[in-house]
Structure formats: structure tokens, C-alpha cells
Symmetry: C2
């Protein structure tokens, strides 16, 4: 089952990559966007139904894909 996991820096956690991008954008003449950068993972989870796929993906997100101390994750199950 196709699953997307979005991993983002928690609110209040510094995001130096985002800040660097925002400065670049301003250098190009764009207004400040307050951009924050995270990661997206597209994966195929073998599970009998969407609820099981969501559970497995959540486990992967917590154990491997994110750092729960500073990042939060969101699981989207497709179809």
C-alpha cells in the first residue's frame, strides 16, 4: 500500500536550512516566506488494509524516518 510520510521540524525548533533558503529568496527579490524545510518519504508498505498500513508507517516514521525529539511526522495512506 502506497504511503507518504512527511517529517517536519517541530515548532520552535530552529531550521537553519529553511532560514538559508529564505535569505536566498530575499536576495532574489522575493518577500520573506518564513519557509521551513522538512522531508517527504514515499514508500510501499505491505499491509492488509489502510489502518494497518498507517500503523506500520507510523512505526517506521518513529523509529527510522524522524527524530522524535525535534521532528514531527504525518502519515498519508493513498487509496
Amino acid at each position: 500500500m502506497k504511503v507518504t510520510v512527511l517529517v517536519r521540524p517541530k515548532e520552535g525548533v530552529l531550521d537553519p536550512q529553511g532560514e538559508a533558503i529564505d535569505r536566498s529568496l530575499q536576495g532574489l527579490g522575493y518577500a520573506r516566506t518564513g519557509v521551513r524545510q522538512g522531508k517527504v518519504f514515499d514508500l510501499d508498505v505491505s499491509a492488509p488494509d489502510a489502518a494497518a498500513a498507517r500503523q506500520v508507517a507510523g512505526e517506521l516514521a518513529e523509529r527510522v524516518l524522524s527524530n522524535p525529539l525535534i521532528e514531527q511526522y504525518e502519515v498519508v495512506v493513498h487509496g
Copy 2:
């Protein structure tokens, strides 16, 4: 206007980070997931309406947030 830009490696383009993660997952006893890693950007675009926000975000995605040679992007405008 809140916008999310998803940047992913194009199909056929190698994704060494994804491959490393997949190997780690298998080392932990999970089945192969074929995971692919990309980036997610959450930003605030000043635009009068959703169509304008989408256009600005697309421009930022093309110029700064992605490498169009090897990555594709998707723009999601919120509300």
C-alpha cells in the same frame, strides 16, 4: 497564503538516501519498502488569491527549491 511545495527525485533518478533507509529498515526486520526521499517546504506566499500563490510558489520551486534536471515538484495551496 500558506503553501506546501513537495520536491521529489524524478522517476529513474537514483536516490541513494532512500536506498540507505530501505537497507536500514530491512536490517531492522521490515520488508522492502522501495522508499524514495524528497523534501517538503512550508512557506507563506503573499498573493491576492490561490492561483497567484500557486504561480509564485511554482516559480520559487523551479528557481530555488528544486533542481529541475533531477527533481520534480508539486505545489499545494492551503485554504
